[in-house]
Structure formats: C-alpha cells, structure tokens
C-alpha cells in the first residue's frame, strides 16, 4: 500500500459473471426506438402485423438505419420515456420468426476508408460507450490522407470497464479477441490513424492469453485506479471507441451481420447470479433481471455503479450505450455530515480540481470566486462522492457549480440548510 496514494481503487466483483462466459438469452419481443423527441403520428410505412426479418431496416434516425433486432411481427408503435434518451417513439416487435437479413461480405482488400464507414452505417453499429453511432464518430475523427497528426493519434478500443460489477468488455476480449481486434484495425483504417490498441485491465493470466491472441504490442494495460487514464504518452491524442463496437464492426465486415445484440453485464447486490448476456437491443430490462433471479425490492440502475442512472420502469428497453444493468438493494439513508477536510476528494480528482473548496464556495454563495477554481473541468466521474467519508454528494455539487456562469439567480425561499 503506497503512502501517498492517488486515485480510487474499486473492490472488483467481476469473477462470478466472468466465469460463466457470455450467454444468450431468448426474448419474446423487443421495443425499438424509431425516432427521438415527442412524436404523435406513427411512421407511416410501418403498418401493424408486418413481418420483419432480423437485421431488416425499419427506418432511418439521423441518417443511421434502425434495424430490427429480432425476426418476427411488428405489433405497433408506442411513445415512451427512456431515462437515458428521453422521449422516444418505439416499435414493438414480437419475436416469432427466423428470417435474417445480412449484408454482403467484401474481400479485405476492397475495404477502403469510405467502404468501412458505409458498412458501419448500414450495419447500424453503435458505440456502447456513449450510444453514438460508430460511423459518426469515425467520420468526425477521420484525417485527410498523408496527415502527419496520424502519428500522434491513437485509436483505443476501450475494454477497461472500470466498474465494480461490469465485465462485459472483459468477456468480449476474452471470448472473441481476434474478431474485435480486426474490427479495431478496420476502424483505424477508416480514420487513417496509424496507431491503435486495445486498452484492458485484465488480470495477469488473462492478459497473457489476450496478448498471445492479438499480439503483445496491441494490448495496452491500464492501472486499476478509477477513473482510468488511457494516456500512454502525454502528447498523444487518444480517441476512444468501445470494444463491443469493434466486435460489431468485425462481425459486419467478416460475416455480414448487423449490430443487433448487446453484451450486457447483469449484476448487483440484489442478484445472486450475475451473468454476461447477449441480448437483442430493445429487450425489456425486467426480462434480464428475471433471467438472473433478482431479489425483490431492488432498484434498477442503467450503467455502472459510479455514474449509472436509476430507472423505475422495468419495461424500459435496453438501448445501445448500456453495457451494465445493476439491481441494487436500497442502501440505508445517510445524512451527509459536515466536510471535515480530509482532502481525499482533491487527491482522487482526475481533473486535479479542489472539490471541497468548490462546494464550500458554492455553499457560501461566493459565486464570483467560484470560477477561479475552474469547476467546468469536472468530468463527473463521481470519484469524489465515492471517497467522501462524510457521505456528501460532492460530484453533484461540483457539476452544478460548473454550470453556473456569470450571473446566478438565487433560489430565495429554497433553504436547504438542515
């Protein structure tokens, strides 16, 4: 144990889910988003009782095709509110068929940057880190030909998954490292970056297996501190994509499969049997938890245990951008104590801020002096809230302070002093 420790080391509980590997789950139906925002009229060409094949394009959402993730019958459209994506217009599809729609597979030497981007778009590949379509990210980062910045740009497939429970990325690099790495190579070809690697924090033995599979130089090991730092060299510009997106790109290019399923870790302290499941997008979260025998009285969390969002409706569909679904037992309510100034929040802050001082100034309404501490640099990783021995929600306060700019309107009458 180092005397001057920096960063948070989370107590990992991934073993149980990793041992079982990736399992598939049969679903009875899915609910797929067709359009974002409040929309009353259903999309016209999607009539009820239309048979759809797995991978068939239903419509387009911001140039990215929406593909059916199961084969079956379209039942109708419904407007829902998703805790991560807001209001969505969704299609309900009953899974009762086995038709499959595949993309044509091209030989590897025909895969130019444009072709790869086109295929990534047609295959409807979403990056699981942020739920953004992969082709949009790649197109934005793409460099002109023979650009020298390519030497300093690193495309990193992020398989770190620095959460207590989440292990889907670990499972992916353990089960299909070669296909995922092929996808990463092709993504790097699309962006014209000359450097790329898979970032992992696998334990030593598993890391050795991975290095054996894809080559020693292509694996970058990060430390087990939260949040992870992906910088090998400070001059490098790091571009992150998810390992599942790489795998999906590899599958689309080699097998012609569209990105219809996510690999999700279902875990949490309310689950006796955590698992990594391969499920089609649009599956109800409740179905996942039932498959893992969740205890009653749990709270559903979409995303990891540090920055995940609570979800009250078990019928919420699983969408791209979610790799972990947690069922947590409600923790006892703790009244946050006063800041005793242990300074741990400052020691663990990856942005090098002074969270306690930001909170103090915003509590004392010293807004004009708040901006000197640049609270806007906060990434919202919540390491400070995790480490705070007084149990305060430091990260929430800092984020709030980061959004105040110049003039602040005080909420008179809202006295939150205990």
């Amino acid at each position: 144990m180092p005397l001057f420790q920096r960063g948070v080391v989370l107590p990992f509980q991934k073993g149980k889910a990793l041992e079982r590997g990736i399992e598939s789950l049969d679903v009875t139906g899915v609910r797929l988003p067709l359009a974002a925002g409040d929309m009353d009229s259903p999309i016209s060409h999607l009539a009820a009782d239309t048979p759809v094949a797995c991978g068939q394009e239903l419509c387009r959402m911001d140039d990215t095709p929406v593909v059916s993730t199961v084969s079956g019958t379209l039942e109708g459209t419904v407007a829902i509110h998703h805790p991560l994506y807001g209001s969505l217009l969704c299609a309900d599809i009953r899974a009762d068929g086995d038709a499959e729609d595949r993309l044509p597979v091209l030989p590897e030497d025909e895969l130019t940057a444009d072709v790869i981007l086109q295929i990534a778009r047609d295959a409807a590949i979403y990056d699981e880190l942020d739920g953004i379509p992969l082709w949009e990210k790649l197109q934005q980062w793409r460099l002109p030909e023979n650009d020298l910045t390519a030497l300093h740009s690193v495309l990193v497939a992020d398989a770190t998954e620095n959460d207590i429970f989440g292990s889907s990325a670990w499972a992916v690099v353990m089960e299909q490292p070669k296909l995922a790495f092929f996808g990463l190579q092709m993504a790097a070809r699309a962006t014209r970056f000359s450097r790329y690697h898979i970032a992992t924090m696998l334990p030593k033995r598993r890391r050795r297996t991975l290095k054996h599979a894809i080559g020693r130089m292509n694996v970058y090991t990060v430390g087990d501190e939260y949040p992870v730092t992906l910088f090998a060299d400070r001059d490098d510009e790091v571009y992150r994509i998810g390992i599942q997106a790489c795998l999906a790109l590899g599958r689309a290019l080699k097998q012609g499969l569209r990105h219809t399923a996510a690999i999700v870790t279902v875990a949490g302290d309310a689950l006796p049997a955590p698992r990594n499941l391969r499920v089609p997008f649009g599956t109800e979260i409740g179905a996942l938890l039932t498959a893992c025998q969740a205890k009653s009285g749990h709270q559903i969390i979409l995303g990891d245990s540090m920055v995940g969002v609570t979800c009250s409706d078990p019928h919420t569909p699983l969408l791209p951008g979610i790799t972990t679904v947690l069922a947590m037992l409600p923790r006892p309510v703790r009244v946050p104590g006063p800041c005793i100034g242990c300074g741990r929040c400052a020691a663990v802050c990856p942005a090098g801020l002074l969270p306690y001082e930001i909170v103090r100034r915003s509590e004392n309404m010293h807004y004009e002096r708040l901006q000197h501490l640049s609270p806007g640099d906060c990434d919202g990783c919540a390491a400070c809230s995790y480490i705070c021995p007084a149990g305060r929600d430091v990260a929430a306060e800092v984020l709030k302070a980061g959004q105040t700019k110049g003039t602040v309107f005080l909420n008179w009458g809202e006295d939150d002093y205990e």
């Binding site: 245990s305 923790r331 100034g341 021995p389």
Partner: protein, 335 residues
C-alpha cells in the same frame, strides 16, 4: 420508489471511523500513564473528555443544531488531546476548563465540526498555558512516584517534582536521560506526550489506516529534525541532541495529533507539505525561544491561520504549472 443518486456505491471509510481511530490513542497512552502514575491521569483524561462532550452538547442545544453531532467524536478528541498534555499532578478542573474553553470559544462560534478555523485542542492548551503555566508545567518525578494521590489537588502532599526535559533543554542544562529512556518515555513530563515509541507506533497506525496524511506529518518531522540538527541545545552527541529535542515538550505529540486535525490543515498535497514545514519551523523556534517550555500550541494556532491561504495558493501554483499543457490539449481537441 425513491431515486438513488450516483454513485451507487460508497467507500467503507466514514468520518466516525476516522475519529474512532484517533480516540484509540487513549488506550495505549492511558495505560502507559496508569502504569507510571496510577489512576490519577486516567481520571484526568476521562474528566477532560467528559467536559468537552458535555460542552459540545450544550453548544449544540444553544445553537439549535442536532444533538447527534456530538456522537461524531470530534469533541471527545478535543477533550482527549487536552487531557494528554496535562501534567499528571494537575488539578482536575484545569483540563475541564481547557476543554470547555476549546469548545465554547474555538469551535462552536465558527459553526461546529468542520468549520472551525483554529484547532480547538490547541486553543484550549494555549489558554491553559497562558493562564496556569505553573500548574501545567510542574511534573512529578517519574522514578519516585508509582501512585499519585487521587484527591482534588496533589500540591502540598509531598510529591517530589522534577524539571521536564524541555525545561532542562531550555535552561541549557545537560539532561541525564538515556536514549532508551527517551524512547520509552521514562522521564518527567505530560501524561501522553513523552512516550515516543508509543506515539510513533500510533502514528504508523494512523498512516496505514489513512486517517492522517503523510504529506503533513513527514515534512513536519523532517523539518523538526533538521532544525534540531542545525541549532543544537546541548553540547552532547548530535544524534542524542536531535532525539532529545524531538522528545521534549509537545513536539512529537503535535506531529501526531494537533497537526493532523483535518479540519484545520490544508487539504491539497502541496499545501500540506508547506504547512508541515512551516509548523515544524515555528514549533522548534517556540520551543527554543518561547517564554514557556512547550509552545507548540501557539505555533499550531499560528499556522492554522495560514492554512486556507497556503492551501489555495499551492493549488493555484500547481494549476498554473499544468495549465499550458492543458490548453495545448484543448486546442488540439478543437482542431
């Protein structure tokens, strides 16, 4: 169902556990003084803690704060620390008065736990040092006493007193205490600040538990040792001189307890480093030229006043150093 805010997991560390860690010091140091002086120092510690807790409860009631805050243990720490620097033959009301002063004047008016600017224990010790130097610094000779009388006062009861190590050093005398005695605390002095080995072991415990930060205490101890080496107070062997100066008065005690109070110390690592160095210089200076033999409490109060500014300036300095690199990154990202 209520909404749970992120993060959904929390660390095991709690404020209560941190204060309990410090309160654990009462066990080894209380036992040590019990063996040396009998039950009297134990009563002194208990009454001092009791006075602090009762005063804190009173202040909570007057200030209409929740009475539960008394249970966090910070008031008990204040009382314990004041009790630990008392002479074993001090009257019982002296530490009680100090504890009450510490809570009423140095803690409650600032807003209670976590908001006080000055270390309450240091303030209590300072006022007692100022008002009752004779009672504070009259120590029973350790070799002649095994049981002090338990009555209200021990004056005029034939207890042999002895000059403490700090007083001997300040007077320019050559102490006749061996190195082993220095380490074991086998010389006349306060209840809890003579046993160097126990204090160091306890410091190690606190460091391992991460209750205190090494950024404060290591620079402090190094500065103290450096000061002692540069300005010897005896003409004996330098290594013995350094040891004697570190064991005298409250130097080690300050490093383990008073300095590490998280509320009044800076929180940023560089600020802590400066704070430790500054405190070391001041403590050793006051030890040497002060009017009383142990002036650490005044030194602590002085550096407490500088603590917020040291904290912020050191952070701004670090921030300024890394700014260039950050700006370059941001420009790159925008391109």
């Amino acid at each position: 169902m209520s909404k749970m805010l992120a993060p959904h997991i929390r660390t095991e560390a709690r404020t209560g556990r941190m204060t309990m860690d410090v309160l654990l010091a009462a066990i080894p140091l209380g036992l040590f003084s019990f063996v040396n002086y009998g039950m009297r120092p134990v009563f002194i510690l208990l009454l001092s803690v009791l006075a602090a807790v009762v005063t804190e409860a009173f202040c909570c009631m007057v200030g209409r704060r929740r009475l539960r805050t008394v249970l966090d243990g910070s008031a008990a720490i204040t009382g314990l620390l004041i009790g630990l620097v008392m002479s074993p033959m001090v009257d019982y009301w002296v530490p009680m008065l100090g504890s009450a002063f510490a809570i009423i004047v140095a803690k409650a008016p600032f807003g209670g736990t976590g908001r006080n600017v000055f270390n309450p224990a240091a303030a209590g010790i300072a006022i007692l040092t100022y008002c009752f130097p004779l009672r504070m610094f009259t120590y029973p000779a350790i070799s002649n006493v095994s049981n002090l009388p338990i009555g209200m006062t021990v004056a005029d009861q034939g207890v042999i007193t002895e000059l403490s190590l700090a007083a001997q050093l300040q007077a320019g005398a050559t102490p006749s205490i061996t190195r082993l005695q220095l380490l074991l605390g086998d010389f006349a002095g306060p209840i809890g600040s003579t046993a160097a080995l126990i204090l160091l072991a306890f410091l190690g415990y606190l460091l391992v538990r991460r209750t205190v930060s090494a950024w404060v205490v290591l620079p402090y101890l190094c500065t103290c040792a450096l000061m002692a080496w540069l300005f010897p107070m005896t003409n004996l062997n330098p290594s013995y001189d350094i040891m004697a100066q570190l064991c005298a008065g409250y130097v080690l005690f300050t490093g383990v307890f008073l300095l590490n109070d998280p509320v009044t110390a800076p929180r940023f690592w560089l600020g802590r480093l400066f704070y430790g160095i500054l405190a070391g210089i001041l403590v050793m200076t006051l030890q040497r030229i002060g009017r009383v033999e142990a002036g650490s409490c005044f030194a602590i109060l002085l550096v407490n006043a500088f603590s917020p500014i040291v904290d912020r300036w050191s952070w701004h300095f670090c921030h300024w150093l890394t700014r260039k690199r950050r700006i370059r990154r941001e420009v790159k990202a925008h391109e």
